[in-house]
Symmetry: C2
Subunit: 415 residues, 2 copies
């Protein structure tokens, strides 16, 4: 009996997830897409049909309306659809309610970003300890597989770190994750994914794990220029990011940092909005007495990231620079992927950022479906064997490349 | 029987108006302050008491709650208080409803800024033609005095133009009004008066009157550096402003332009907010379905201009550079005022921008009270004899200075 998949969410990432599930529906059962706005799910279904993406042409793909904050509604939908795998790429605010529904129904759970409370920004590290890991026991008891943070970053970059641990280094002293989008969307300003989640990433303290402890910095305080394959020299800043909060547990003696590429325009916009209080998640009261969360208004004014795709050009480079020792000698390993916005659009109708985030959870779902990753417990991606995942990603459009001490090396992930 | 005054509004300008009315309450009857939030009016009354500002110590000063958009409530309050002069320094959205109440009750009307429809920005020029001048006949029929735009700019700068017409030039070829605030409030960013009204001034087309016709430009398109008395060299940009829309009628063969000083920070903030759509007066819908006007949220996030006063330092310079001919020879006349933020705060508890806007309508009210300006019709300030007004302003804290061809000249306004 092939497993039915329920995709939660209807943004740019959900679009990629739906297309990729469709392209591999010979290994899944029915594919369902649910979000608050059913019409957005219907548009995704229409886009899958338009691209003729279903591998098994008479397979099921269907749209549903669902408030994923409503656990009993989610439970009911999972049961009604007999969904065995839930790929949650909805807002980060719904993660824990969707996970609860999976625990209750026995469905496997996959997400791509940390759970967030709408009224809290940048909670105490490690972030996974605040919500996800508290449910580890409940997940184990229910005997379900819950894979946390299985997008690109977090997700693939966690697998990259594990690959280096397994294959390239005896001892790891630092993991620097770098995420550079060298593409251009042609807008004056836009975020590449949900503006609310995007800005929330950067309005709090910048947490990094260094010298065996959590360190704090301010946003845009620590710049670093990278010289990356294909995209070249790019400015980045040290920022907080989900994967630091799990990798720091497994690699507690290593420094774990995250570097995000930002153009001047982003820094300009962020600086103004942040300083004016417009990125606040806390409600303000207008002169007319209306209670409003400024960040939600900023989101409403900005371009919908899903609509950037048609004009998006250029490439992304995301990878892990891991330093340590091999056979007693210093060695550095850079594991990375380069993706192309136009290629992504031509294939699935989304831009490259959505593509890199949306393909990995489908790979994870395929590995749950075939049993490889069906571990019946809660895990972060670095806890899973990375090669089958990276092998599958290579086949699905996100090839992994590896440089050892600056030299490109060939890797056989199937081996 | 001395005339009772009703002040509408409770912001920084209303604070100045209340203090100045109090300082001259030997020439008024009772002083009343009304706004939507009665507690704000009470705070102003408390501040007047604290400064011991009442000239006639046992005179009446009282606070009231009023929704000034509600004409019948305003009519009722004017009647109850037996107010003969209404000084409207509330939001620009209430002007026409307050004027209607004055027409109905026979009270004199004074405002300091053009009427605005919350849902429209930068309407067809001349702006006074859209709302105010349409009621000229009704005002004349009711036999009331309605003085439009009697703040500093518009207001005093209109009187400056008229002074030049009366005293210094036979023929006027251009009127350039310049408004530079060289003060500093110590905040990362703040507007000097209601942010909503402030930004609305600059989000539309920049209208100027040149070559006998309305010309349009974009905001921050036309820069001009001025070298001004006291404040020195300052960058300004050509902007739209109320007074152009009345001065262009009286001085139709002259060019009429307005130049506002802006620091880099203002340009930075404005550019980001404008480009993101956050200065829009049109509602947007959040992902949660809430209807919100972005500009009102920006306003709610910014510092309250009334609270800038204690830290404000430095000076303002506002004036008219008027060019033309006298006795057949080219001549240029610069009529201006320099005000000081700290002096304003020490005297009335408001900063200099509020002070320059709030003193003139009280001078106008005094001139209505003594009959000099009680013209029983609707007028813009340039239609009134300027010397008594400028003389009174000199006594009240806003002295006028005049330069002819760059040389300071002595002026006797009492003459």
């Amino acid at each position: 009996m092939k497993k039915n998949v329920l995709i939660i969410g209807a943004g740019g990432v959900a679009q990629v997830v739906a297309h990729k599930c469709a392209q591999h529906n010979d290994r899944f059962g029915a594919i369902h897409i649910a979000s608050r706005t059913a019409s957005k799910c219907e548009a995704i279904v229409a886009s899958v049909r338009e691209k003729d993406a279903m591998k098994v042409k008479d397979g099921v793909i269907a749209a549903h309306g669902l408030d994923a904050l409503d656990i009993s509604a989610t439970v009911a939908l999972i049961r009604k659809l007999d969904a065995a795998i839930v790929i949650n790429v909805g807002s980060a605010f719904v993660n824990m309610s969707v996970l609860s529904a999976c625990i209750e129904t026995g469905a496997a759970y996959i997400d791509t970003a940390i759970h967030e409370d709408p009224l809290k920004i940048c909670e105490t590290p490690p972030w996974y300890g605040n919500y996800e890991w508290k449910r580890r026991e409940a997940v184990a008891k229910a005997g379900i597989t819950a894979i946390l943070g299985a997008g690109f970053d977090p997700g693939v970059v966690n697998a990259y770190a594990r690959l280096v641990e397994d294959e390239y280094l005896d001892e790891i002293s630092s993991i620097d994750i770098v995420d550079v989008n060298a593409g251009s969307h042609g807008k004056w300003f836009a975020t590449n994914f949900d503006p609310e989640i995007n800005f929330r990433e950067f309005t709090g303290v910048v947490y990094s794990w260094q010298n065996g402890a959590w360190q704090t910095n301010k946003m845009f305080e620590i710049p670093r220029e990278w010289d990356l394959p294909v995209v070249g020299k790019r400015p980045t800043y040290m920022t907080g990011h989900d994967e630091i909060h799990s990798l720091s547990a497994r690699y507690s003696t290593a420094d774990v940092r995250f570097w995000m590429g930002f153009g001047e325009r982003y820094v300009q916009v962020f600086t103004v909005l942040k300083n004016l209080g417009l990125l606040s998640e806390q409600p303000v009261t207008t002169a007319e007495g209306q209670q409003v969360v400024p960040l939600k208004v900023v989101k409403a004014c900005l371009p919908n990231p899903a609509e950037l795709a048609p004009e998006y050009e250029g490439k992304t480079c995301i990878g892990d620079l891991v330093k340590g020792k091999k056979d007693g000698k210093d060695r550095e390993v850079f594991v990375y992927n380069v993706a192309d916005h136009k290629d992504a659009y031509n294939e699935v109708g989304s831009q490259g950022i959505s593509y890199t985030a949306g393909v990995p959870p489908v790979a994870a779902a395929l590995l749950i479906a075939d049993g490889t990753w069906d571990v019946k417990t809660m895990v972060n991606v670095e806890e899973l064997t990375p090669k089958p995942f990276l092998n599958l990603l290579g086949q699905m459009g996100l090839p992994t490349q590896v440089q050892v001490n600056g030299e490109e090396v060939a890797v056989d992930f199937a081996g």
